[in-house]
Amino acid sequence: MDTKHIKDQVDPKFFKEHQHKLYQALEDKHTTLEMLEDDDPLNTKMVLNMGPQHPATHGVLRLILQLNGELIEKAKVDIGYLHRGVEKIAENKTYQEFMPYTDRMDYLSPYSNNVALCTAVEKIANVEVPERAHYIRMIGCELARLTSHLIWLGTLIMDAGAVSYFIWAFREREKLHDIFDHLTGHRFTVSHSRIGGVHNDITDTAMALIKEFVDTFPQELKDWHMTLDRNRIFYDRNRGAGVLKTEDALNSGAAGPTLRGSGYAYDMRKVAPYARYDEVEFEVPTRLEGDNLARYYVRMEEMHESIRIIRQCLDKLPKGPVRADNAKQAYPSKDEVYYSMEGMIHDFMMTDTGICPPDGAEAYHAVEAAKGELGYFIQSDGTGHPWRLKINSPSFKNIQVLEDILEGEMVSDTVVIIGGVDPVMGECDK
């Protein structure tokens, strides 16, 4: 047996062909075919298989690293361990029925996913959304961004060695889940948005909780800034780790805070404002360094901006209905369903057939989710089910970037770099 190739030395237990091709791809990378045993008398080279079951890979991400001592020479990423085929499922569901699946895509910020689907369907089917619903959605999306960034902060710092931050971040996140409980009726997978609006209006308790959170959270954030920004260990650990150069960032397709940490202020809220983002003031934080520290600053500042947006939304929140009053486009309110015959028929029709965009219509709409540009492309054949629904997910693009930025780093930094890029496998694997 030829022992000079990696793939001849491994004996995979399952998906044999898949594993062999993966190791072959690692060997072929950069077209320089290096033999493992040649010129390596000290035996410093090895191939490290990390994941898919590894706590620091944030889910089921699998990395194949070729190491020279502690240095990563080449990296290959294997994804698909959480592939559930949601795009196939979408083709067999009505638009509204599909929404609970979107909660489980980027499961760290479900609200943004719901809004992304709804805005895309509203675009293709020409549904007008009431003003108040837009503002409620914006509040929900920004709260979702905070929950996602809090997980990122907690796990990043835990990966870097400080476990207490994980607890502190989760304490704040718990408050957000309480808010979601009162705002939407669910703590985690909310499914609150509806095509044509949102499910229910903000309750008084939810409003009070949001106001309290908006008042107390900035102080918390300030404390975190004080302990982290000048923390020698944290600073040194992240500075210069996983550098994505400005000139490479666009070409390699980075999205969201990863792209903004490399210097491009590409934010769907500014580029193509949806909901009412054009009526609130906020900045798009960017950094030029492109390393993990830059991504840290970008996300921390984004949290400040989110609080700022929520404050403005609370001030501007107009009165009025929260769902389009058109039986062909949106669900009727529960009052109508329970007390009128038409209401019940409309409710039944919406559940059975759902909204039918025109035959042959195509639309793409993207929102800025916590991880970056999250777009839904829909092709309609005139029925209540999409003919094709494509989800353009930011984590997928960011993990592709990961494959490149890992090279030349130390193996101990991989977990920090993964934490800094902040992928969610549910969204990446679809």
């Binding site: 399952f14 091709k21 085929g85 094709r388």
Partner: protein, 170 residues
């Protein structure tokens, strides 16, 4: 058909119909998005032209669709974004049912690599000159293309060997 093109997209369409008269098929709009359809064999020159002349430097997505029962069955859609003009443009090529293949655009945008692998994995569309052409979600041992319309929603029983659930005995 009436088109309401922005100035940027108008120059793109004018430029394309001038420089690529033979391969430029149609331009249309749907729900406010602009789609341009071109011949499949010219995709690489047109992409390069769009990137160089019109600053579509960000490739947002590449994906396939199945136009089941239509003449040219598969379609590859490129979702391009121009950072300078903040405009989005969709470029489409259509491919035949038998051996659908198109040149890879990885030489223009490296980000296309995984997106094209996804289109291959889901629809079986071949991208020639791709540097690392493998399936991406499904393992290589899988013989079907799940997003094709004829693939059943519940999957094909026995199409994939699951790892043994008992611990290894060696």
């Amino acid at each position: 058909m009436d088109l309401e093109l922005s100035d940027t997209l108008q120059t793109v369409v004018d430029g394309l119909s001038e420089d690529f008269t033979d391969s430029f098929i149609e331009v249309y709009q749907s729900s406010g998005d602009t789609f341009i359809r071109v011949e499949a064999d010219a995709n690489i020159e047109i992409c390069r032209y769009l990137k160089r002349e019109h600053h579509f430097i960000y490739l947002s997505d590449v994906f396939g669709t199945d136009r089941f029962t239509s003449e040219e069955r598969f379609e590859v859609i490129y979702n391009l974004f121009s950072m300078r003009d903040q405009e989005r443009l969709f470029l489409k090529v259509r491919l035949p049912e038998e051996n659908p293949a198109v040149s890879s655009v990885t030489s223009i945008w490296t980000s296309a690599s995984w997106m094209e692998r996804e289109a291959y994995d889901m629809f079986g569309i071949e991208f020639t000159d791709h540097p690392d052409f493998r399936r991406i979600y499904m393992p290589e041992d899988f013989d079907y293309y799940p997003l094709r319309k004829e693939f059943p929603l519940l999957g094909i029983p026995g199409s994939i060997d699951l790892p043994s659930s008992t611990p290894d005995t060696e």
